[in-house]
């Protein structure tokens, strides 16, 4: 395995970015030409001159004077390692981008980057404010893609990101790309998830340990997410969402785009529906993702569930028709409240349904054996 190595110049770049946090915050407006991924194409000198002209000399001198041993000690103390664009571990396809990060600071298993190819990884992005439909789909996609051996890349944010990570952790490997230092659990309520990913997967960032997140660091980390994987799938996103920045960046790099369709009336699905209209791959389940990346039929997933008796089939059909509460299912199927409860419970145990903590039911991606061809 390639060792995580980073040259001191690339490390200093990371520390410079952390120092520039508040300065870039002022100039990265999101207008064309001053988006943070565009700013990050600049050399150290140009970047400092653009963002902090008054203190440019001091900042550059300070960073240049950082002793190498201190940087490496800080990494060690935070339990992190680093690899730079000149090292072996740095994924080749990450260099596709003009704004590729100089160094990746990682926490967790560096083996996930070793020999990583674009078709080994899928990026799942989406809204922080997701519906239970989006969360369930993200979890399922994460789980099934990880089970199929893919590495699931996402951003540890609320909503879709967190669900994709959780699903992937259930079945396989995942990489979280952060907009702060890799030792900083942000958002803090995802601390447990962050710890689990550190233990069994990988957390990476281009910022040094302890760096705090800024508004501009999120579009910046989105470019790493877009570049790491061969395909970026949007689960739910409003029309003006950060997730769509990731898809723009992925499209610029020539990566595949996928989108999960949603109701045309749903604001949360406006983003992916728009992407589908402009030609993104339609993603209904993990198989669609694998077919798009590897070619149809190259990696079939076997995921038909167990057999169902007619009563369970009727209940499943009612949930598929949009009934989400036990009451509605009982009314639609004509079953008693007790019988409907028992049927829903069985379907949940068999994996066909997912019950939220509000007691409402959602269909999972598992399909019954009798209706394999939808």
């Amino acid at each position: 395995m390639a060792e995580p190595r980073a040259c001191v110049e690339c490390l200093r770049r990371s520390w410079l970015l952390a120092d520039l946090g508040p300065y870039v915050e002022r100039v990265a407006t999101g207008e064309v030409g001053s988006r943070s991924p565009e700013l990050l194409r600049l050399s150290n000198e140009d970047l400092v001159a653009v963002s902090a002209p008054k203190v440019a000399a001091q900042l550059l001198a300070r960073v240049a004077a950082l002793p190498e041993e201190r940087l490496r000690e800080e990494l060690l103390l935070a339990g992190c390692w680093a690899c730079c664009r000149h090292g072996d571990l740095y994924p080749d396809h990450l260099r596709d981008a003009a704004d590729a990060p100089w160094a990746l600071i990682g926490r967790g298993d560096p083996g996930l980057l070793d020999g990583l190819e674009p078709f080994d990884a899928v990026t799942i992005v989406g809204a922080r404010r997701a519906t239970s439909y989006g969360r369930e789909i993200a979890r399922e996609l994460g789980r099934e893609l990880a089970a199929a051996g893919m590495i699931v890349v996402s951003g540890l944010a609320f909503g879709i990101d967190g669900c994709a990570h959780r699903g992937a952790l259930d079945a396989g490997r995942t990489i979280a790309v952060l907009g702060c230092g890799p030792d900083v659990a942000y958002p803090s309520s995802h601390r447990t998830l962050w710890r689990r990913i550190c233990e069994t997967g990988l957390v990476v960032s281009e910022l040094p340990p302890g760096a705090t997140p800024w508004r501009w660091t999120f579009p910046a980390r989105n470019r790493i997410m877009a570049a790491l994987a061969g395909m970026t799938v949007v689960v739910e996103a409003a029309t003006r969402s950060g997730s769509l920045i990731t898809t723009d960046l992925a499209a610029d790099l020539g990566r595949d785009l996928g989108a999960v369709p949603g109701p045309v009336t749903s604001r949360a699905s406006a983003g992916p529906n728009g992407l589908l209209a402009s030609g993104a791959h339609l993603v209904r389940d993990a198989q669609d993702v694998l077919d798009a990346m590897l070619g149809p039929g190259n990696k079939p997933l076997a995921h038909a569930g167990p057999d169902l008796d007619p009563q369970l089939q009727a209940v499943l059909a009612a949930v598929e028709a949009g009934e989400s509460t036990c009451d509605a299912v009982a009314t639609a199927t004509g079953l008693s409240g007790a019988a409907a409860a028992a049927a829903l419970s069985r379907l949940e145990l068999l994996g066909y349904l997912h019950c939220s903590n509000l007691g409402t039911y959602l269909r999972t991606l598992l399909s019954p054996p009798s209706c394999g061809a939808l």
């Binding site: 997701a130 509605a328 409402t360």
Partner: protein, 498 residues
């Protein structure tokens, strides 16, 4: 001269005996009350003075000292007026009452000498019997509730003037008729037939009533959550005789006996209630909270997510122990509170739910709101029912099964539980050891074990599923928990994780 009389002060819902000692002797005219009186007791001076004069007695212009013993107990309320007046009359030789020390006197005095009813007369009559008094003299309005206590003579008086006739033996009122305790809901009470359609909600109510399980209903506003909750008392079994007396004692102590509903109490406090209002307390005298008022009945918390977190936290211990313990500087008091908790909540702060495009709740707000539902009280809520807007066909449809029919099934299930667990107990109160001793069919056991092994259930959720399944089996009249009942229980349980 010295005279003593017996009376009581109300402390929570219990009556504490107080001995009134009145000493009248020479000196500058003065009237002092000692023995930790509160403001209402201290003002008895003015009421007693006016009442004596207006009833034709003489107010002695001498030095009067009233001591309320034991001196360490705080005395509150106006119920000691009558005893102070009687002891004062005796001490000033205006009333030659030899039995004064053997009867208990309770009552507030009006300025014209007539008596006004007091709170807690039922508890006071019981305490009078315990302390060995032969009779209790109290305002006529309190007569019926005091007459519920057997083994003591109840004498209802209209005013201070009646005492002379009583002492001379020329007047003795007829013993009052005991207050009728209505142990079952009346004919006009809200009926479950009003709940049309919504079969699952009906079933959840029935299971909650049958096993005494606490229930959380989640659904949009106007879906029928409050309607369902208010029908719950009508399907609960009637109060046992002893339980009805407990309920009456609490109502009496709160002065709400007139409003005592037929059957089990139903309390629905507003969500702005404080922790003290909910569990009881107070700086001076301890007042029972809503949990105690709901004793043997139903406590309904509508808009659970809007309640203050500290108020919900304070509910935990009462739910666990069946009584609330209040510690104040004056000491510790226990109030009974064995009630069924029913709560209702919206799916998100705006109530529309995430699937509605108009829902504008921020993810953090939704998270915090739902955290409240699953946070403070989570351990103690057994059943979860997702409620949805009834369809037009359901609203226009035929009325549902009436309460009486459901109550019969509930009562049969309760009888099975009492046979197994002992009198007065229900499945919701099963200890973990008792829950794990439930008899399961092989299929039911493997269903539960499978889920537990897949780590989809915590240990506590495992026991909760067993309790619910046992109630379902009791409702079905089955000797052991079958696979069908276990599957239902797993659906109906409150979820631990999302």
């Amino acid at each position: 001269m010295l005279a003593t009389a017996r009376t009581f002060t109300l402390d929570g819902i219990a009556a504490r005996p107080v001995r009134v000692e009145v000493d009248v002797h020479k000196g500058l005219p003065n009237f002092t009350i000692v023995g930790l009186p509160d403001a209402a007791v201290r003002e008895a001076r003015e009421r007693v003075r006016a009442a004596l004069v207006n009833c034709g007695f003489e107010f002695p212009l001498r030095r009067i000292v009233v001591n309320l013993a034991p001196a360490s107990l705080r005395k509150a309320g106006p119920a000691m007026d009558l005893a102070i007046a009687a002891a004062l009359l005796s001490a000033s030789d205006q009333l030659a009452w030899e039995e004064l020390a053997r009867v208990a006197l309770v009552g507030e005095l009006a300025l014209d000498g007539s008596t006004r009813p007091v709170q807690g007369a039922l508890a006071m009559a019981e305490a009078a019997r315990e302390s060995g008094a032969e009779a209790i003299v109290l305002p006529a309005e309190n007569g019926p509730e005091a007459a519920l206590v057997e083994g003591i003579d109840v004498i209802g008086v209209e005013g201070l003037g009646c005492l002379s006739g009583l002492v001379e033996g020329t007047w003795r009122p007829a013993p009052p008729e005991p207050l009728p305790l209505r142990r079952e809901v009346g004919a006009g009470a809200p009926d479950l037939a009003d709940l049309r359609g919504q079969p699952h909600l009906r079933h959840a109510l029935e299971v909650a009533a049958a096993g005494g399980h606490s229930l959380l209903m989640i659904g949009p506003p106007g879906a029928g959550k409050s309607l369902a909750a208010s029908r719950l008392p009508s399907i609960l079994p009637p109060l046992a005789a002893g339980e009805a007396l407990e309920v009456a004692r609490i109502a009496s102590a709160c002065g709400r006996l007139d409003a005592l509903p037929a059957g089990r109490p139903f309390r629905a406090p507003h969500h702005t209630i404080s922790a003290v209002g909910l569990v009881g307390g107070g700086a001076q005298a301890i007042r029972p909270g809503e949990v105690t008022l709901a004793h043997r009945g139903v406590l309904f918390l509508d808009e659970l997510g809007e309640f203050r977190r500290d108020a919900l936290e304070a509910l935990r211990a009462p739910l666990e122990g069946g009584e609330v313990s209040i510690v104040r500087a004056g000491g510790q008091r226990s109030l009974p509170c064995r009630f069924m908790l029913v709560a209702a909540a919206n799916p998100c702060p705006c109530g529309r739910g995430e699937t509605d495009p108009d829902c504008s709740c921020a993810p953090y707000d939704v998270k915090r709101y739902q955290g409240k539902l699953s946070g403070a009280l989570a351990d103690r809520i057994d059943l979860l029912a997702a409620v949805r807007q009834p369809s037009a066909a359901e609203i226009g449809g035929p009325p549902g099964e009436p309460s009486a029919a459901v109550r019969e099934r509930v009562q049969a299930a309760r009888e099975r539980q009492e046979l197994r667990l002992g009198s007065g107990r229900c499945n919701a109160e099963m200890t973990p050891a008792e829950a794990r001793a439930c008899r399961l069919s092989d299929e039911a056991a493997s269903l539960l074990a499978d889920l537990y092994a897949r780590q989809r259930l915590s240990g506590r959720a495992h026991d909760r599923a067993l309790r619910l399944a046992q109630t379902l089996a009791d409702l079905a009249g089955a000797a052991e928990i079958g696979e069908e009942q276990m599957a239902q229980a797993l659906q109906m349980r409150r979820r631990d994780r999302g």
